[in-house]
């Protein structure tokens, strides 16, 4: 109240004394005094001295400055007049007022100041321009067609200060330019083309490399699509180097909206696109739809397996299950040459579908550590995953069984085969595959396993094919294993086997006819009593005896007296099998005169076990 009393009394003073008091009050660092002085100077009932407010504006404290700002429309004409008036000492305060309070229309005045002889004026002009242009940029730049004269002036001023960057060195204008977003693309081109010095290029590059606002992102994006290769190359370089999360996320969102053709445009000349590092930086934080789209983009890049795996793995760490699954499926196409680190994590910590996908990948790639990765999942709750893992573990166990088959004794082979059958519901499918294997050893093993499991009926169809197998061991075993009764096709095969050049095939075929227990086959088998091979002949004799042909007895006794040791050995075996009346005595008599130790041992063995039940056929 007292200050107002003082100022009301000032009206009683002569004008010069009033001016001195108002000027002193405006210069005093006291808000109330300054505010009262501003109001007094702008009171049209008094002296009305807006020029004093302009002159002392720079030193006004906030409250007084607000009081002056409220009357800006009265102050700006004074300031404008002083700026345009030339070189008087008052232009600096005028610039200060315009720089601090002027609106976008004041840009034209401030541009005049950037070339002023006084460094203080230049400083004020640049600061004011920065404030006004930044405000314009923040409020959102409009396209040229809709710009007001003041906005056109602002763009013009921005162009001017950018082109003069080497002289003033104010990098803030690059940031402001970036804030204008894609609208500033012509400015970038103009500045780049006209500014041949590296300082300007560096300044722009730095602003674009660090600009964290939407405008900077949009400008960089617009540069990526620019027709000018130099501008595009500059943008690609910047995109390649940026790793800040907001930009990376924004870029990823934009990339996800592109089709393949436009994606190629922004990807750059090298095989690994410029945007890939930025996208991978945030791959696990993107919205699921975006992540899946980008994953598809990454798959379409045609990267080498190592690079592709590196590019896909970050997506596997996404929280969304669908993205995880898509990433795992994509990884499968790479073959995972860099290892299975992320897959291991998904197997241990992933949710249902992702774990299934990861397990499927392990099964498909069959890495050395597959069993170590899958075995812990045998007890998992998910029935689909459990089925998958059990199947794979069984397959691997079956494979290992086949590998060790040759080193096992017959008893161990049979025990192991039956144990595997209990664990593995797909055992017959695996045997079916093995029967169709190109490797005869594998086919032979499969046949033997079929015999262990009594699975001839279950695998009849593929087994029949083995009767014509090119490998004689396989054929011989197949003839023995395959149940042919009741099958015309089987009988035909057996008849063919009787004339097989391999003695074991013939022998086994004869044994098979014996098992048919049909006396009509006697005539068919009698010629084999004259076969050169001892085993064929012994099998024929035994088979004919079992089919009820009495002449078989004489044939066996004739073999027992044969000069050929092998023939006598087979005769001992056959007689021991059929045990016709008087056979024991015949064998004992032969033992008394037998000279061959091997035959003698066989004779003793058969006689020693004579009272024991007859063993199952070989």
């Amino acid at each position: 109240v007292s200050i107002h009393d003082t100022f009301s009394l000032l009206l009683q003073l002569p004008a010069p004394r009033r001016e001195a008091c108002v000027a002193a009050a405006l210069a005093e660092e006291h808000e109330a005094v300054q505010t009262a002085a501003v109001n007094f100077a702008l009171d049209r009932r008094g002296d009305y001295r807006p020029d004093l407010v302009v002159d002392y504006f720079h030193g006004l404290l906030p409250a007084a400055r607000s009081a002056a700002a409220a009357r800006l429309d009265e102050l700006l004409p004074i300031a404008r007049q002083r700026i345009l008036g030339g070189h008087g000492k008052h232009r600096l305060p005028a610039y200060r007022l315009v720089g601090a309070l002027g609106d976008l229309a004041a840009v034209e005045l401030l541009v005049l100041g950037i070339g002023d002889a006084m460094p203080e004026v230049r400083e004020v002009a640049f600061s004011g321009l920065e404030r006004l242009l930044r405000g314009y940029a923040t409020s959102g730049a409009n396209p040229p067609a809709t710009r007001t004269p003041a906005q056109h002036a602002a763009w013009s001023a921005l162009t001017t200060v950018l082109l003069q960057f080497p002289a003033h060195g104010r990098t803030g204008f690059f940031d402001i330019t970036c804030e204008f977003g894609a609208q500033a693309l012509p400015l970038v081109a103009a500045a780049r083309l006209s500014a041949r010095d590296t300082a300007t290029a560096r300044g722009f590059a730095k602003a674009l490399a660090t600009g964290a606002n939407q405008g900077a992102f949009e400008l960089l994006w617009a540069m990526l699509h620019d027709q000018d290769p130099t501008t595009q190359a500059m943008a690609q370089q910047l995109v390649r180097e940026r790793r800040d999360e907001p930009f990376c996320r924004w870029l990823a969102e934009q990339l996800a909206t592109l089709d393949a053709e436009r994606l190629r445009t922004v990807s750059g000349p090298s095989r690994e696109p410029t945007w890939l590092p930025a996208v991978l930086q945030v791959a696990n934080q993107l919205p699921p739809r975006t992540a899946r789209t980008l994953l598809t983009h990454v798959q379409g890049l045609g990267l080498d397996p190592n690079a592709a795996q590196s590019a896909i793995e970050p997506f596997a760490a996404h929280a969304d299950v669908a993205v995880q699954v898509a990433a795992v499926q994509a990884l499968q196409t790479t073959g995972c040459p860099r290892g299975l680190g992320p897959i291991e994590r998904l197997l241990q910590q992933g949710s249902g579908p992702a774990r299934i996908a990861a397990a499927t990948l392990v099964v498909a790639l069959a890495p050395p550590q597959a069993m170590a990765l899958l075995t812990p999942l045998l007890g998992c709750d998910d029935p689909t995953l459990r089925r998958l893992v059990v199947g794979e573990v069984s397959r691997a166990s079956f494979e290992r069984y086949l590998q060790r088959f040759d080193g096992m004794d017959p008893r161990a082979r049979q025990v192991a085969a039956r144990a595997l059958q209990k664990l593995d519901a797909q055992m017959f499918d695996r045997l079916d595959q093995e029967i169709g294997s190109l490797d005869p050893d594998r086919r032979l093993k499969a046949l033997q396993i079929v015999a262990f499991l009594d699975a001839e009926q279950d695998l009849r169809a593929p087994l029949l094919d083995l009767l014509d197998d090119p490998d004689r061991r396989v054929r011989a075993t197949a003839v023995r294993v395959v149940e042919l009764a009741g099958s015309i096709e089987g009988i035909k095969v057996l008849l063919g086997a009787l004339s097989d050049p391999d003695r074991r095939v013939r022998a086994n075929a004869i044994e098979a006819f014996e098992q048919l227990e049909d006396p009509r086959f006697v005539q068919l088998l009698t010629p084999f009593l004259r076969d050169r091979d001892n085993r064929v002949r012994a099998n024929a004799a035994k088979g004919l005896w079992n089919l009820g042909w009495a002449g078989a007895r004489e044939a066996m006794l004739e073999m027992l007296d044969d000069d050929d040791d092998a023939m006598r050995l087979s005769a001992v075996w056959a007689i021991g099998e059929v045990r016709f009346d008087g056979a024991r005595e015949q064998l004992a008599a032969r033992a008394a005169v037998e000279c061959n130790l091997k035959v003698l041992d066989k004779l003793r063995d058969v006689l020693a076990h004579w009272d024991a039940p007859v063993e199952a056929p070989r």
Partner: protein, 99 residues
Amino acid sequence: MTAAAWFLVAGLCAVAVVACWLHSPAARAHRQQLRLHRRFAAANGLDDEESRALWRIAHEAGLADPLLVYVRPGLLEADAVPCASAAVVAALRRKLFGG
């Protein structure tokens, strides 16, 4: 001349000098400033002691116009104003500038 005459002449001269000074432009200006000061002081509710102290402060600050002291609170901000007590200075700050 007697001593009394000398004393009389000297007295008349002194009166003349004082009269001359009192009617000089500087003296008139001083009286006018003082009158205005008293008017401003009264308008701001200052008592005689405060008014005198403010007058002295203005003069000691060497202000071209003593009335400027009414718009320059900075002159009362010093830790110790030599020509006025702290209580008077505080009263002046409060009455003139509200703090």
